[in-house]
């Protein structure tokens, strides 16, 4: 049965249609895998009954020849997506017990296309973090361990539960969200594929908002083809989201031609950081060799303001978050700590309900928007952001896509960097620029570190050109032949 959990999304789809196995069998294998993965703490809520019911309905449709694009495929849903009737906490105590009376647009699309829900997966609280160690419900363990070292490692964040579940074969795929790297970085740390689409490609309606101008939902899968398949369902204009792009959704699977001959691939010089580990540098060079061998030309480009992207991000994201999280006040949902006065109640509820990282970011955000500081911080950051976006526009005059490492290191041990917020923030140095410019980016597992941990390469594309991003990502995947598996696989002996 565990062979069913080894399948890719597209493979499983084909297998179901060819009646090699039933959706019930596929769901059952995964329900068991979910149970077996509990030591990772990837799942916050398991929904086996729902999964079985959805799978049964899928079998009926398949039998009638009415299979939809994701019919019967078991998925894990990041706890940031509101799922109707199923607990949604955004990894936070403050939303304890919240059962949304509505379904997010993105997950609604997945169910519309026949997918099956295995449960809600763990994440950094309110998507603020790069290690999934800030969750109120405990940290997630990366199914990978260092060679010869038993210390549990972080899966990355904030979509740490999603990445761990997919890597451990406790889901065929998962949804994630990416605000500064929260899909791509954990994908890199867990050896899977993670795609952040163009801002506006997927609707944000029903996704607990962290930083409105940066958040994007995206697929986390074990192959580039699977990411294309899942994005096809997740994407689409939503009139309930004013920032949702009113553009047609292309056929993403068709984009995977494997042919990148004649393309120019930009290599941004500023991404070569001082003190960058040699193995990251080496991996990047291998990536450049691969795309050259595939007939594309590497071109050096300059993204001059790269080093300022992180500080820009750490002004804008907390500022927006400080406002977005004001609604968590103990009045209409979640937990409440009673108080003598209204303000007492607010203050006590929020102090107890929010974890330290969230509190820290809300305070920073409140500060940078406050009277006297708005111009120096927030306005300045938005100006630099405009320049960063222009950097990309200029670079894309000379190339069709960019190739960079995804992260400056492999997964680190749980507990490392926990006391040093800035060291933690630096995890996102390669990914954050992409959110600031609203562009699509994918991380593809490309190699292993000296310790045997996965490392990813990132492809960045023009706005709404996920097709090129997927195509180049597919070429990298083909060349890398990343067949390594994590030490922990759910259900494996």
């Amino acid at each position: 049965m565990s062979s069913l959990t080894e399948l890719g999304l597209a493979e499983a789809r084909d297998g179901l249609l060819a009646k090699k196995f039933s959706a019930r069998e596929l769901a059952e294998a995964h329900v068991k895998a979910v149970e077996a993965s509990r030591s990772l703490n990837a799942y916050l809520v398991e929904t086996p009954e729902k999964a079985r019911a959805m799978a049964a309905a899928s079998d009926e449709r398949i039998a009638r020849g009415e299979a939809r694009p994701l019919e019967g495929l078991p998925l894990a849903i990041k706890d940031l997506f509101c799922t109707e009737g199923v607990q949604t906490t955004a990894g936070s105590k403050i939303l304890k017990g919240f059962k949304p009376p509505y379904e997010s647009t993105v997950t609604a699309h997945l169910w519309r296309d026949g997918a099956v829900m295995l449960g809600k997966v763990n994440m950094d609280e309110f998507a603020m973090g790069s290690s999934n160690a800030t969750c109120a419900h405990g940290h997630v363990e990366n199914p990978w361990r260092r060679r010869g070292d038993n210390r549990p490692l972080v899966p990355g964040g904030s979509s740490g539960g999603s990445a761990a579940a997919v890597a451990a074969r406790a889901a065929l795929a998962a949804t994630g969200t990416d605000t500064g790297g929260s899909i791509r970085q954990p994908a890199s740390f867990c050896g899977i594929v993670g795609l952040k689409p163009t801002y506006g490609r997927c609707s944000r309606w029903g996704i607990v908002a962290f930083a409105s101008s940066l958040d994007q939902a995206g697929p986390m899968t074990r192959s580039v083809k699977d990411a294309a398949l899942m994005l096809q369902s997740m994407a689409g204009h939503d009139p309930k989201d004013s920032t949702s792009a009113d553009v047609p959704v292309p056929d993403f699977e068709k984009a995977l031609t494997g042919d990148i001959r004649g393309m120019k691939i930009g290599i941004p010089r500023e991404y070569r950081l001082d003190g960058m580990p040699a193995e990251i540098e080496a991996l990047w060079q291998r990536g450049i060799d691969w795309i050259e061998a595939a007939g594309a030309t590497p071109v050096e480009v300059s993204l001059t303001l790269t080093k300022y992207a992180l500080p820009v991000y750490y002004i804008i994201a907390p500022a927006e978050a400080s406002s977005n999280l004001a609604r968590y006040d103990g009045v209409r949902f979640g937990m409440r700590v009673n108080g003598e006065t209204l303000d007492d109640m607010y203050e006590a509820t929020r102090a107890e309900g929010f974890g330290p990282e969230v509190r820290r970011r809300i305070l920073i955000g409140t500060y940078v928007l406050s009277a006297g500081y708005y111009d120096a911080y927030y306005l300045k950051a938005q100006k630099v952001r405009a320049l960063i976006a222009k950097d990309f526009d200029d670079a894309f005059q000379h190339c069709d896509a960019l190739l960079t490492p995804t992260t400056p290191s492999a997964a680190f041990a749980i507990g490392d960097k926990a006391d040093d917020p800035i060291a933690m923030y630096l995890n996102d140095v390669f990914t954050v620029t992409v959110n600031l410019a609203g562009l699509p980016g994918i991380s593809v597992p490309a190699g292993l570190s000296g310790d045997g941990l996965p490392l990813g390469l990132q492809v960045i594309g023009r706005a709404f050109d996920e097709e090129t991003v997927l195509r180049v990502g597919g070429v990298i995947e083909q060349a890398a032949q990343f067949k390594a598996k994590p030490q922990f696989i759910a259900g494996a002996m």
Partner: protein, 100 residues
């Protein structure tokens, strides 16, 4: 930028998050560190640059003036932690009393 305890207290009050004195001290240190790091943005010449309005690549969509929502009171009240069944049964949210 060095933040002092008093500023942390003021910001926490604006954000309606209670912080103990001990936390004020610790946070003053942490936030100062982060803000100092952020201040490197001062190195960038942004004269004449318009702040980014949005990365959304379109104009603000406008919707028709139709009533398409509401009438979902039970759904709205279902998750309330107010613990005041009278208020809930009468259709209200309830909070500690505010004196104006």
């Amino acid at each position: 930028m060095a933040l002092d305890k008093a500023t942390v207290a003021r910001i926490a009050a604006l954000a309606r998050i209670r912080v103990t004195e001990e936390e004020q001290t610790r946070l003053a240190g942490e936030l100062s560190q982060i803000l100092t790091w952020i201040e490197q943005l001062g190195e960038v010449d942004t004269s004449g640059v318009e702040p980014m309005a949005s990365v959304a690549h379109q104009k603000l969509p406008l919707r028709d003036d139709k009533v398409t929502d509401g009438g979902i009171r039970d759904k709205l009240l279902a998750n309330t932690p107010s613990n005041n069944p009278t208020a809930t049964s009468r259709g209200f949210f309830a909070v500690p009393k505010v004196v104006e």
